[in-house]
């Protein structure tokens, strides 16, 4: 067994066993980490693999969440059906954005601006969309919290933890597979040099569209999870650009384009944020914004000293392949 496989097994086993040792708070924290690890992995497909910078991934989270949430809210349709509607809608949106950008040669920061624009006008649109509650939000019924109701995805926090663990593991496996096969090679070629990729026979338009579609589909699932985990949705929050940034920070800090980066980054950032909150509370400092200042400072230091993220140098230290 390779070192990487060993590390991976250890990680999976400890995450599976975690609920036996950890309390309710640690479980909720771990769920949050996995949520960001999963969304980061989804974003990484577009940026890390194919080199297309999206700063509007909150669009897919929001549309996914509202699609599955509204079906449940209005018609009692559970998330297993709603999931497919969410995926379909988000893939459609992604394809529209991708078509507009790639067909008309919009790339780099201009592409990023386009993704922000779509997220922003969807946010404003949803604010005026009464069917899903508009700015007042949409609230899903929380019937009972004790038994596992897998059909409607209602249950205790532990159920959400395991669901998120399964999603993260699935996303990791999918990305691993994609990187090892034709899409991975073609995406990375496009990321490194689009002109050379084209000269080698790659239809760059088609493969970039695929990257957007896969990323959008994966992200929409995290939206569905979000809806059924938090049970309340507000356009102002879920589509907000800070949500997109949150998704990006994990892979950026962990290592863009790597498989472990998004997971590591999500863990580091979530624990850091939590740690700073605890520390500030323990010290009794009541300075507004002090938490953000420390958080920002740490991000700054990581990016200054580890511009490729934490994972690549760590992988070298552990004698692992840099992915």
């Amino acid at each position: 067994m390779s070192r990487r496989a060993a590390l991976l097994s250890l990680l999976v086993v400890s995450l599976l066993a975690l609920p036996h040792f950890a309390g309710a708070y640690a479980i909720s924290l771990a769920t949050l980490i996995l949520y960001f690890a999963y969304s980061g992995q989804a974003w990484n497909v577009m940026m890390g693999f194919a080199g297309q910078l999206s700063l509007g991934h909150s669009l897919y989270v929001g549309v996914g969440a509202y699609a599955a949430g509204a079906l449940f809210f209005h018609y009692g349709i559970g998330p297993w059906a709603g999931l497919w509607v969410a995926i379909l809608l988000c893939v459609l949106l992604g394809v529209v954005i991708g078509f507009l950008a790639f067909r008309f040669g919009i790339s780099g920061v201009y592409f990023a601006l386009l993704t922000i624009a779509f997220a922003e006008f969807t946010r404003i649109g949803f604010d005026h969309f009464d069917w899903i509650g508009g700015p007042g939000g949409m609230f899903l019924r929380v019937a009972q919290r004790d038994a596992w109701d897998l059909v409607n995805f209602r249950g205790p926090p532990l159920m959400y933890y395991y669901a998120m663990l399964a999603l993260t593991a699935g996303a990791f496996a999918l990305c691993f597979f994609l990187l090892k096969s034709r899409p991975g090679y073609y995406w990375q070629a496009i990321r490194e040099n689009e002109e050379a990729a084209q000269a080698l026979g790659i239809n760059t338009f088609r493969w970039k569209m695929l990257a957007v579609a896969v990323s959008a589909a994966m992200t929409s699932v995290s939206g569905v999870f979000f809806a059924f985990y938090y049970n309340n949705l507000f356009p102002e929050q879920i589509f907000h650009i800070s949500r997109s940034i949150e998704i990006i920070l994990g892979p950026v800090i962990g290592g863009v384009g790597t498989l472990f980066g998004p997971i590591l980054g999500a863990a580091v950032l979530t624990l850091l944020s939590d740690g700073i909150t605890e520390a500030v509370a323990a010290l009794g400092w009541e300075i507004p914004g002090i938490k953000q200042v420390f958080y920002g400072l740490v991000l700054l230091l990581v990016i200054m000293f580890l511009p490729h993220g934490i994972w690549p140098p760590l992988a070298r230290r552990l004698g692992l392949h840099k992915r």
Partner: protein, 241 residues
Amino acid sequence: MNLLSMHGISKSFRGLKAIAEVSFDVPQGGIVGLIGPNGAGKTTIFNMIAGVYAPDSGEIIFNQKRIQALRPDQVCAAGIGRTFQIVKPFAGLSVLDNVIVGALQREASVPGAKRLSLQILEKLGLAAKRDLPASSLTLPDRKRLEVARALATRPRLLLLDEVMAGLRPKECDLLVEVFRDINRYEGLTILLIEHVMRAVMALARRIVVLHHGEVIARGAPEQVVRDPAVLGCYLGEETEI
């Protein structure tokens, strides 16, 4: 039989005529050299063949089909491989992975592409460096990588844009040998832009000389290098080949 034919190709950039009524043929299995001073329009011709831009007028026939309206990826799929004068490696990928990307053009699976890529790297003397990131290669190695990647797409026609530039004479001779072998044993047709006359004379059976976007001479190498027009604008009177 001609594998590639250029018929009356013209191209202007913002009113500046880069290529005017250029016609020439590349016979099946042949090696043709395209030479001329800087700015003569050689790379422009390559870019038109490769589908980077379409000619304003004229026809490009490859393998009995018109290809001047195709995109670069379609031109590659049709069977034309190219290298870039300014090398464009996939810097973050390993040398082997660079070549695999090209090999996937004809290979259905990654393992198959890997086998083909290893053979090609072996042929070009890059096998020992296969796991290094392409960004760590020296310029001569990057040029070889360009060739390896293009060969991996299994072209019928290979366009070489100044792959000998910057190579030492010995390295140059080695690469010439590689192209000769591939041409002789695999029937690969080659069109090369080259300033290194040592390589052109060793490889090309026909030479086309371009100056200010027009063909000023063509024919067998020995004949072309004695042509007064070519000596005047490009090689210079004192040239010894």
